[in-house]
């Protein structure tokens, strides 16, 4: 088979609305700007202190020396805080019209009406729209933006904020801790099962605008929640930075599933720290799909802290022209009888690069623990690249750990079969790619799965047969 030039189609959601920001800090980051953000948000002293402490850590930390090239990020040439509207609204009718138009194009209202319990939509840095179905509210479920949570639930915030991912963790977690804005806060009381996924859409709209949302999810004993986060961003020529922090606490016997479909436009640096603490008999699951962005570095991790805790990471990466997806997952076995599974599927086309970077660590004393890592990579042409960097550390005898990886191209026999049935080469290729990622797609809520399949088809269009 000769090489297939597969051209990634222009970005589907690459439109943007005129900015209508109300309050905007000047470009760059320093003590005054961090204080101005905190002052504008009218935050308590401890949060201001936390931000300033994090700023010092950010300034002291060096950039990561591994992974993608981040030299294109200019911290001084970025806006760190923009608030698009001063009003917070609860009903859809009150949402400003141009913002509503934007959401219309990505289909939020339909999604909400169909089967979502609540929608927190983030426009620039603030969550402007919130609607949580009454039945969950009555059970004590809290689903709000993190800024509101800081005002309304200061005790919970103070107890958990920055405990799962401290600012010392890495440079971008420190940056987020200093300038964070927006994000979701979810609290599920003991024994409550939130059976319909909670959903939030994020967008970057102001040019050169870094988005630093901060999400905190607490699932009390025996509870269950599924949180869905999706990102689409308009195209801009200057590079944008998205450095989010997601902290999740899964208490005894609880289960949290966190689904992300990241589809930032091809100029965004997406550097996100995501971590779950899973206590006794708890279950933590990450489903992480990376389709867009220029550079993504993201390794959702599970810290299995209690006996019998379970963690699962499903990672999907798709890299087209000029894209580098450095994704993966981490599992830390810190207690006996803990189990983890990491499954990674990656597709590289048109010179794109995907890397699986993973870590499994089994602490001494974590008897009876089991871990299995499986990574599969599909390389569609000879311009693209695929890497696997798995680290497996075992300090305990009574452990079962397995890791498997394979790298392949589209099989000629598969292609021949489909084409003999009348499909074009592009159709056949996209069918094979969709089949390859199917094990992960089937875990994603329906409307995302549909969008994902469409995106893959779109990316495969223009391939010459």
């Amino acid at each position: 088979m000769k090489p297939q030039p597969i051209i990634k189609d222009s970005y589907k959601y690459g439109f943007h609305k005129p900015e209508s920001a109300v309050f905007k800090t000047p470009k760059g980051i320093n003590r005054e700007i961090v204080e101005a953000i905190s002052y504008h948000k009218n935050e308590p002293d401890w949060m201001r202190e936390f931000r300033l402490k994090s700023l010092a850590i950010f300034e002291a930390k060096t950039m990561p020396t591994w992974g993608a090239d981040l030299s294109g990020i200019n911290f001084a040439d970025m806006y760190y805080y923009v608030s698009p509207t001063d009003r917070k609204v609860r009903s859809w009718n009150e949402v400003p019209k141009d913002i509503k138009d934007t959401y219309d194009r990505i289909g939020i209202p339909q999604a909400e009406q169909r089967f979502l319990a609540g929608v927190g939509a983030q426009y620039d840095s603030e969550v402007i729209y919130h609607n949580l179905k009454k039945q969950w509210e009555d059970q004590g479920v809290i689903f709000t933006d993190t800024d509101t949570a800081l005002k309304k639930y200061p005790e919970i915030m103070k107890e958990y904020f920055g405990t799962v991912i401290p600012p010392e963790d890495n440079k971008f977690a420190a940056l987020n801790s200093a300038v964070w804005s927006g994000g979701s806060f979810v609290y599920v009381p003991k024994g409550v099962q939130v059976t319909i996924p909670l959903q939030a859409y994020f967008r970057i709209n102001a040019a050169n605008m870094g988005q630093f949302e901060r999400t905190l999810i607490i699932a009390e004993e025996g509870s269950f929640v599924h949180y869905v986060e999706g990102c689409t961003a308009p195209i801009y020529t200057t590079d944008s930075l998205h450095a989010a922090v997601v902290e999740i606490v899964v208490k005894k016997g609880a289960r949290v599933r966190y689904t992300t479909i990241q589809n930032w436009s091809d100029n965004v640096y997406n550097l996100v720290t995501k971590r779950m603490f899973v206590e006794e008999e708890g279950v933590g699951e990450w489903i992480d799909g990376n389709i867009g962005s220029k550079v993504t570095m993201k390794y959702p991790s599970v810290y299995l802290k209690g006996k019998g805790a379970k963690g699962e990471v499903l990672s999907l990466a798709f890299a087209g022209k000029g894209q580098y997806q450095d994704a993966g997952g981490k599992a830390f076995h810190l207690a006996p009888y803990t189990t983890s599974t990491i499954t990674s599927k990656s597709v590289s086309v048109a010179g794109g690069r995907t890397s699986y970077r993973g870590m499994v660590f089994v602490n001494r004393g974590s008897k009876g623990s089991k871990s299995f890592v499986r990574c599969d990579a599909l390389l569609l042409d000879d311009l693209s690249r695929s890497d696997t960097y798995p680290t497996n550390t075992v300090n305990e005898e009574d452990v079962t750990l397995g890791h498997e990886a394979s790298v392949s191209k589209i099989g000629e026999a598969q292609l021949f079969y489909l084409m003999s049935r009348g499909l074009s080469e592009a159709q056949a290729s996209s069918l094979i790619v969709n089949g390859f990622i199917e094990p992960i797609v089937k875990e994603i809520p329906l409307e995302y799965a549909v969008e994902l399949n469409r995106l893959i088809e779109l990316s495969m269009e223009g391939s010459v047969g």
């Binding site: 000879d382 695929s386 960097y389 680290t391």
Partner: protein, 186 residues
């Protein structure tokens, strides 16, 4: 660091037997000519507080090259093995076939194993894979052997020998004798 360059249509089998003497083993292999092939077979036996850093880098720089890196280790007492492997397939090295595997058997609660088998692939017309397992002795195998009247120690011997047999068979003959003696001792 030992540098090895393998030229067109050359085949090299590189057996490694570690019984605790060296603390570092490191190979840099370049498959520079078409049809070059390498097999690196490592048998690692660690006891007491023996610790090994083993690093194996293989670069496929030509078409139709083949590499096979297989490590099998059995660690008792407080022995430690840290394996870092990297197989790189350059752009243009079509028809390449690469396999990278590390299997560590931990026989005591103080033994430690770390394995980082990495792949960097810049060509799509290739076959590449890797596998790692780290774990303890299989209870079912132990139970079977002990139910036939073997002591725990004897059964353990058998299971370890069985685990290592697959790599021993691939060793060159003169090396096999030496290796087998060591396996029995462990």
């Amino acid at each position: 660091m030992k540098n090895v360059i393998i030229k067109e249509n050359e085949t090299l089998v590189l057996p490694i037997l570690w019984t605790g003497e060296e603390s570092e083993i490191s190979y840099e292999v370049l498959l520079s000519g078409q049809g070059a092939s390498v097999a690196i077979l490592g048998l690692l036996l660690g006891k007491d507080d023996a610790a090994l850093q083993i690093k194996i880098n293989v670069t496929h720089a030509a078409k139709n090259t083949k590499s096979e890196v297989i490590l099998k280790g059995a660690l008792t007492d407080a022995a430690k093995v840290n394996f870092e492997g990297l197989v790189k397939i350059n752009h243009g090295a079509t028809g390449t076939n690469a396999w990278l595997a590390a299997h560590l058997l931990l026989l005591s609660d103080k033994s430690k194993g770390r394995a980082i088998p990495s792949l960097e692939i810049l060509e799509n017309d290739i076959k590449a894979g890797h596998a790692t397992t780290v774990g303890r002795i299989n209870d079912i195998e132990m139970f079977y052997l002990m139910s036939r009247g073997l002591s725990r120690e004897q059964a353990k011997q058998f299971v370890v020998q069985g685990f290592l047999a697959s790599i021993l068979e691939k060793f060159p003959r003169e090396f096999q004798q030496k290796a087998k003696k060591n396996v029995r001792l462990s």
